[in-house]
């Protein structure tokens, strides 16, 4: 039986459909989850998709973090449940304090959509195990508030523990500290990533098919659990 990966829809989520498609294309079954219920419906992992939850008018992810579904996800994640937050999902994870730091306004002050080269730095997380260390990939980046910021202590901790999972290469799109594009929690089950792997799953509609590996990685890791 295929593993079920839940995709959460908050009001204002945009990439939920695409994330579900990526899960299916990777060989999993996508399970829609609605923000207003705290029922995880026995999914094996969860993706928090991109978008502008609640319009992102206050701070990105700040209001979504209090949705009933997040209460369940926070508890589960603390017990090792796999969670991938993409873009707005990453912002929600930071607001939930499942991941350290915060995502702030792009240094250029504009929304930026581009094909972005990344270097995968950590292949030990549930979501990145299918990559080789140092692998360079190209997937779309699209956000207005993607600049990863934290204090020096947190940055040292992330770097010394190898918790940066991906870094921007060749071009600094937003002024993130140490060019950080994605990080993980200590346990490696929660990953936040600013660029969008779900938009790089077929070369017809994306810049590459590199993004699919995030989803196949998780499905493979679930087998081993």
């Amino acid at each position: 039986m295929a593993f079920r990966i839940g995709v959460v829809t908050f009001p204002g989520s945009l990439d939920d459909f695409d994330a579900a498609r990526a899960v299916e294309m990777a060989g999993g079954t996508a399970g829609p989850l609605f923000h207003a219920s705290d029922d995880l419906k026995e999914v094996d992992a969860v993706v928090l998709p991109g978008g502008f939850s609640y319009g992102d008018y206050l701070r990105c992810g700040a209001i979504a973090r209090f949705a009933p579904i997040m209460e369940s996800i926070i508890v589960a994640a603390e017990h090792g449940f796999p969670v991938l937050g993409i873009c707005n999902g990453f912002q929600v994870l930071c607001e939930s304090h499942l991941l350290p730091g915060a995502l702030t306004r792009n240094q250029g002050l504009h929304f930026l959509c581009r094909d972005q080269k990344l270097k995968i730095e950590n292949t030990k997380t549930i979501w990145t195990s299918g990559f080789t260390e140092g692998q360079e990939i190209v997937i779309p980046l699209k956000n207005g508030e993607g600049s990863f910021q934290c204090d020096d202590e947190t940055l040292d901790m992330l770097e010394s523990q190898g918790r940066v999972i991906a870094r921007y290469v060749d071009f600094d799109p937003n002024g993130s500290r140490n060019l950080i594009a994605g990080i993980t929690n200590a346990r490696g089950n929660v990953v936040g990533l600013m660029p969008h792997p779900e938009h790089a799953i077929e070369s017809l509609t994306g810049p590459s098919e590199d993004g699919l590996i995030f989803f196949t990685s998780a499905l493979q890791q679930l087998v081993g659990r």
Binding site: G12, C113, K142
Partner: protein, 741 residues
Amino acid sequence: MKLDTVANATANPDTPQPWVELGLKEDEYARIKSILGRRPTASELAMYSVMWSEHCSYKSSKVHLKQFGEKAPKSDALLVGIGENAGVVDIGQNYAVTFKVESHNHPSFVEPYQGAATGVGGIVRDILTMGARPIAVMDPLRFGLADAPDTRRVLPGIVAGVGGYGNCLGLPNIGGEIVFDETYAGNPLVNALCVGVMKHEDIKLAKAHGAGNLVVLFGAKTGGDGIGGVSVLASETFNEAKPTKRPSVQVGDPFAEKVLIECCLEIFKADLVVGIQDLGGAGLSCATSELASAGSGGMEIQLDKVPLRDPSLSPEEILMSESQERMCAIVEPSKVKQFLAICKKWDVTATVIGEVTSGERLHISFNGELIVDVPPRTVAHDGPVYNRPIEKPAYIAERQAVTINIPMPTSSTEVKAAILKLIAAPNIADKSWVTSQYDKYVQGNSVLAQPEDSGMIRIDAETNLGVAVSTDANARWSYLDPYEGVKLALAESMRNIATTGAKPLAVTNCLNFGSPEDPGVMWQFAETVRGLADACLELGLPVTGGNVSFYNQTGSVAILPTPVIGVLGVIQDVRKRTKMGFEKAGQDIYLIGAVDSNMSGSEWAYLHGEIGNHAPKSDLAMEARLVELLLEGQPIFESAHDVSNGGLAATLAESALKNNIGAKVELENVAVALFSETPGRVVVSINESSTNSIIALAGKYQIPVTKIGMTGGSELIINETHISLTELSKAHTETFPKLSG
């Protein structure tokens, strides 16, 4: 203030009314009185004034636009034609596609961010109203000179507004235009196009049928946004001397609209509406009168039930408010509970504000008192019609007498300098600084987006059916000859569709002009409509809808006549689309079509302060054959890129820079070959093994095909001129960042 009821209006026939301030003409006011048999109440006056404004009533353009119906080609694809919120075409496999382009010019000058944002919001609601899921947007834009101070104010705001709203809705932006010309200073054009898709059986119409059915207003609460905006803002020349006419600005809430979209789609899926209308210009005045007018009976509205953001609004203000993100639906009583439950799920405010009646009048009451009692048709559909004076402007003859005198480069140094100058010109330069502010990936179906010749969206992931859309206008040609100019714009748009491998199917348009009270402008308009109708008939493409924007002028100076033409095409298998960039080294480059030496209206002439004398003459029969050629030849094309603004020089540079693959090209009469913008041309690259096929195609369709060179290397080489791609790219990409810096 005392409520001006119908009883009061009858009892006090001589109360003075501000019909002049509301933009009505004396005869129009008289006509309202004769329709009603008394003076209108304040609320009725508000409704008539907004609905009879140029923007809502098309009073100056109607007599001309009729031609789109009269000359309409027979088309089996057309499911819903002009008149509804947007036209709908059949693209096969039981899919129906709707698309439309609309202007939001004046509001975007006053408040660029919000004006542009609400422009996108408005067109998306039009598409949604048809029952469709919106799937993409495009934004044809025009600005004053790129380095003018006001452009620096207006452009970043408009771009941020288009992006801010569209990105938040989750609609990929798949194309548009950015053109600079001094006539747009003070009159930027913000046109927004939206495409939506649905199944045939899901098409919805804006009609109020069935006595006893309920009128439900849902979405955002009503505030004081844009009150008077319709009649005052959209139909009077913006004039700084009359600051009181500065309307309050509409502010968009894209999140509210995103939720409204999801809510509507769920309501449509459950089949809960009889008719539906969005609230755009003229707000509730428009929605109620149009629904009732198009329906079978009358309507009764209790205006005090409208949920207000600002409780101090008067009834006439409620009727005129242009608060965004609102919809009005006609719902059977038995389905209202379910309707309201879905709204609740999405946290969308929904209120029953009235019902459809068996009568013939639109009755609106406020706290139990009747304030509107009108025949809805007289408000919505039977507004004034003007046959405005038309006169061919004197400049036409003056222009035609001019001889063009612009430097044409000859030596290889001159050719190089000319190419670099041209591709760095704001009208030709790389637009990524703008387009990278737009999400082109969301929804995961964008097969092509800017800077490709057309945007392309996959409709069905199983069958790979897709649609392509392109928008084009060449205002300089329209200025020289509006009849030919619009035909050329249509031909270009159609060619852009076919260049990517899709078959042109239907046309939309947004006609941006100066004041209709100027007979010269009216002539430009009349010629444009005649040209477009004739061209559509000849090409067999139906016009499915459009929009007219008048009064785009500062003082006596009108903008260049700018008919923006959108063409929608269908492609059976999106995997087979052709892209604009050279794909591989060592492939043969062919120019399809022949060049001539007319430089009028070209960018090269414009860069030397010249507009020229005669626009090119369109050859639509040839353009139609070219489309056939492109479609039949599609399997052998490794790349294909249309030749338009900037001529062959721009086309070659763009194809080379796309994938960083150079080219070596041999041209005769090099300056004309590079910079002339003769229509009807496309550059393709093919494998050598396809040589016979392309020659056969040329013969079959009687279009000249010339091998001009070969792809490869890291330079663009034209005869003896060598330009490294690095240098080319620098010139092409530096312009916009510099302008913004």
